[in-house]
Structure formats: structure tokens, C-alpha cells
Amino acid sequence: MSSPVGVAGEAAPLAAVRGPNWDSRFTVLILFLPPALLLFTLFVVLPIGEAAWYSGFNWNGFGRPTHWIGFGNYRFVLETRAFWLALRNNALIIAVSLAIQLPLALTLALMLADRFRGAVALRMLFFMPYILAEIATGLIFSFVYDGDYGLVASIWRTFGADPPHLLASTDTAMLAVLIVIVWKYFGFHMMLFIAALQSLDKTLVEAARIDGATRTQALRHVVIPLLYPTIRLSVFFAVVGSLQLFDLVMPLTRGGPADSSNTIVSFLYNNGISRMRVGYGSAIGVILFVICVTFAFTYKRWFMRDE
């Protein structure tokens, strides 16, 4: 622990600053802070550092790592075609979030921000997929897409066509996963926008209307600009969420067929964790870490300076 000097702001003499409660403050400091710091250091910070260290070894996790191969693991990762496929899929998820999910969420928020009968119920309904476990969601949709028993197959059959096995084809597996992603997450983004709309200064919109702006004009030039901070936030969550997507993919496709629907994390699981290739898996982890941190800092710097 760092020495807890009682620097209490003003430049008063030390004894006066310490005052009668100095003991009690000191006790709090040495009792209240360590548990959180210890847990955080042990299970969050150290493993990241160790990932960087292990990534230099060819190691199966037993005994101590001895076989140092330098940047070999990183080279193997970058030379794997499946890694670039996974990266592409993550980019695809982000693109769909921006092009489909975000406009959908915003439109629904604008419709449901006013109070009318059923608005609250609809909000809750749309938010519900977000709190369901990703595993359960994935299983539900693997039923929906099932080529023999599923809903999609049944619709196909009523038109007399042979039902497709969407999750078993490299052409459609990722598309099917993307639809589930929109289903599961649009409600969360909608709630963000509703919260923002409700704290919006309504006099600004009224002023614009009085000045002769049509509804659409007021929306485009007043409401949407006022929502920019929330839109930036929503984009941030879409990207971060895409970078950690895993649970949803496993019950649907496990990243297959032929790695066509892997995300970075499912790629990490399939190639590093499930085969206990600690060095290789750590290298993927470090790459993911660098992507996350770089993104977070650049994004905050470029787009969220004022918040």
C-alpha cells in the first residue's frame, strides 16, 4: 500500500489536517481499498500481463513454459486465414450494427419516447431479448433456422421449396448470425435513445416548430443533432460488443462451417482454449486487447472529447 498521507487539500499544518478523524480515515484506507484492488490486480491486470509473457512461448499449459519462440505465435496467428475471416466477421457485425440496428433503434425510440397506451409495454418487449442469456438466444434461433423442424423451414415448405440448412452453409451461416445479433441487441440501443430523448430539452423543439419548421425538419435539424452524443455512445457499444461476441455464436454455429462465422473470441476459443495452446491463444488475446484499447482511446479522443 502507498503511504496514506493525510493530504486534505489546504496547506494547513500536518497535525491540524490529520485532526481527530485521522485514525478513522486511515483505518478505512487500509481496510476498504485492498480487497477490490487485490481482486482486480490478481484476476484482471496480471493475466493481461501474463498473456503478453506466455505469448512468446510454445506451451501446452503443463509445467513451466520453456520453449521460447519469440514472436512466432503472432506470426502463426497472422498467417491463419481463419483469423482474418474472424476479423472480417467482426467488421461485418459492426457494419450491420451501424447500417441496420442503429437506425432501427433510433426510429423505434422516436416512436416510443412519447407516452401512449402500450408504449411502455412495447419498450419492455423490445428490451427483453437483451437480458436473455446469449446461450439461450442462440439455441432458440438454432431451432428457428433448423432445416427439419425450424420456423424458417416451415415457411419454405409452405411455398413448396426444399428447406435450406442456413447454419450449415458457408454462404448463409454468418448472415443468420447477424440477424440474431440485431434481434438481441436493438432493444438495448433503443433504450439508450429513449433515455436520451426523455432528458432532452423539449423547448428547443417547440421553438423550432414555432419558427415554422415542419416535424421532419425539427427532427433532422434539432432532435438528431441533440442525440449525437448518444449516437456516438451507441456506436461505441456496438463495436465493443462485437469484439467480445462469443456466447451467441457457440450454440448457433460454433464458428463454422469452415470458420465462416467465427468472431475473434470464438476463434480464440476454438484454436487456443479448447486445445490448451496457451502461447497461441495468449497471442490472439493480446491482439484482441490491443484492438480494444486502441479503439477505446482513439474513439474517446476523436469522437467523445466533450463527454
Binding site: P4, V28, L33, L151
Partner: protein, 282 residues
């Protein structure tokens, strides 16, 4: 809106479009869920022919078999133990740390706070292999704590931020008056801060609970024994065993997501507030 509706002509195309759009989205959300619930009441043969719509024969047996098997309850029990451990430990450690950051000025306090918020920047998956080795070396592999402790560590960053913001808004005069009267910081924390902070504690507790209840990756890596599996792992095993007996799998899914839905209906205020407000500070 509702007042405007009365004065508006009944055939306003904008309103019609809005209603149609909302209905379409509601169907998109509801159909998979309802088909899952009802699918559990069908026989496999009927499911193949009529996945939509109400069952012709209600097969209560599917649900009853699961409810009377020890398996379902064991999974729920394991999930409940892990989530309760995670929530309790998160609330205790995070509120103590947040209290220190909120009320005690000391050298390096802002630095330590930024250190903790580093946890918001990357997902647990990045370091899951070293984490596995750490948990193994600590002898916690295949125990509830081996899952719960890392989950606590990863939920600390957000929890401390939310709690600290709330604690700081408790009037400072209250603390000063208490200190003058000879109350210690610890007693103030115990008898003033915590009781006043029930709403935020409920919010943080609910987010942590939902995250832990739904977690898959950490238990998957840390647990080897079926008897310790929480429900997301158990349901994947179940699906593996009954690979295409979808009527049973659907009944099982319905029963396992039921607790989440009940919790959501009971605590929706805290869940929505927590999951979106937690986001805003991100």
C-alpha cells in the same frame, strides 16, 4: 400523443404506418419466443409439421419430465450459488472501495481510480488462458469460487464508478456533522451511506446478477464437473445429448429462461436503469 390522437382524423397514414411498423417489430421479437414456449408442448412429429401455432395435443409430459428431474434444479442451484457469491462479493468490495474514493482524499487516489477503470476497456476473453492458469495455480479450478472471483474482478470497474458517483452526492454536511459527533468513517459507511444507497446497490446488484446468471465463457473454462455446471453450460450439454429432439430442448430452454423473465418483470426498473445508466458512464 394520446391527447393528439383524439383530435386526429382516423385515417392518418403516419399513424397507420407507425402502428404497422411497431407491430412488425413486435412480431419479429415475439415469434421466436412464443414458438419456443409452445414448441415445448408439442410432440416431435407435430413440431415438424406445425412449428407455428398452438399445439393440437398439449404434451405436458415434456415440461413435467424436466421439472421432476433432479438435473434442472441442480443447474439452477449452481447458477444461483455462483451468481449470489458474485453479487455479494461485488457489492461488498465495490462499495467499500467506492466509499474510500468518494470521501477520503489521499495521495494517488485518482490514479488508483483510473487503474480500476482500466477494467472497462477490454473483455474477460482477452486473458482467459492466463486466467485459467492463475485459477488452477490457486487451486480454485472446478470450484464455485473459481468462477465467482474472476467475475467479481471484472464487474468491479463499472460497479465502483456507479457507486462512487452516488456516494459523492450524499450531502457532505451529513458526513461532517457525523464526524463532529464522534462517529467514525466506518460507522458512517455502515449506518448512513449504505442505507441511503439502497437504490444504487439494487441497480448494481441486479446488473451483476444478470451478467453472472447468463455467463458462459468463464464457467466453461473453469469448471469440469457436470455437478457444478450453471445452467448455460448444462443446457448446452442437454442439447448435445438430445441433439434433434427439439420438443425436449425447447421445453428445457423455456424453463431455464423463465427465472430471467420473472426477474425482469419484477425488477425491470433496476435492470433498465442499471444496464443503460451503467452504459452512459462508460
Amino acid at each position: 400523443m394520446s391527447s393528439a390522437e383524439a383530435s386526429r382524423a382516423p385515417f392518418d397514414p403516419a399513424v397507420l404506418f407507425k402502428a404497422a411498423f411497431l407491430a412488425a417489430v413486435a412480431i419479429f421479437v415475439l415469434v421466436p419466443l412464443l414458438a419456443t414456449l409452445l414448441g415445448g408442448f408439442k410432440s416431435l412429429g407435430e413440431l415438424r409439421v406445425h412449428p407455428f401455432g398452438l399445439p393440437q395435443h398439449w404434451e405436458w409430459q415434456n415440461y413435467a419430465d424436466i421439472l421432476f428431474s433432479g438435473r434442472y434444479w441442480q443447474l439452477l442451484r449452481n447458477s444461483l450459488i455462483i451468481s449470489t457469491l458474485t453479487v455479494t462479493l461485488t457489492l461488498i468490495t465495490a462499495s467499500m472501495a467506492a466509499f474510500t474514493f468518494a470521501h477520503i482524499k489521499f495521495f494517488g487516489s485518482s490514479m488508483l481510480l483510473s487503474y480500476l477503470t482500466l477494467g472497462l476497456l477490454f473483455p474477460a476473453a482477452t486473458a482467459v488462458l492466463p486466467l485459467f492458469i492463475k485459477v488452477r495455480d490457486l487451486g480454485l479450478l472446478d470450484t464455485y469460487f473459481g468462477v465467482a472471483l474472476p467475475q467479481v474482478a471484472f464487474s468491479l470497474a463499472m460497479s465502483v464508478l456507479l457507486l462512487r458517483r452516488f456516494f459523492r452526492d450524499i450531502p457532505h454536511e451529513l458526513l461532517e456533522a457525523a464526524l463532529v459527533d464522534g462517529c467514525s468513517y466506518i460507522k458512517f459507511f455502515r449506518y448512513v451511506t449504505l442505507p441511503l444507497s439502497r437504490p444504487i446497490l439494487a441497480t448494481v446488484g441486479t446488473i451483476t446478477f444478470v451478467n453472472s446468471w447468463n455467463a458462459y465463457l468463464l464457467p466453461l473454462v473453469m469448471l469440469n464437473t457436470d455437478a457444478l455446471y450453471p445452467w448455460p453450460l448444462g443446457i448446452m450439454v442437454y442439447q448435445g445429448e438430445y441433439s434433434s429432439e427439439w420438443h425436449l430442448i425447447l421445453a428445457f430452454i423455456t424453463l431455464t429462461i423463465l427465472p430471467t423473465i420473472i426477474l425482469f418483470l419484477l425488477a425491470q426498473k433496476h435492470i433498465v436503469a442499471g444496464l443503460t445508466a451503467g452504459a452512459v458512464k462508460g
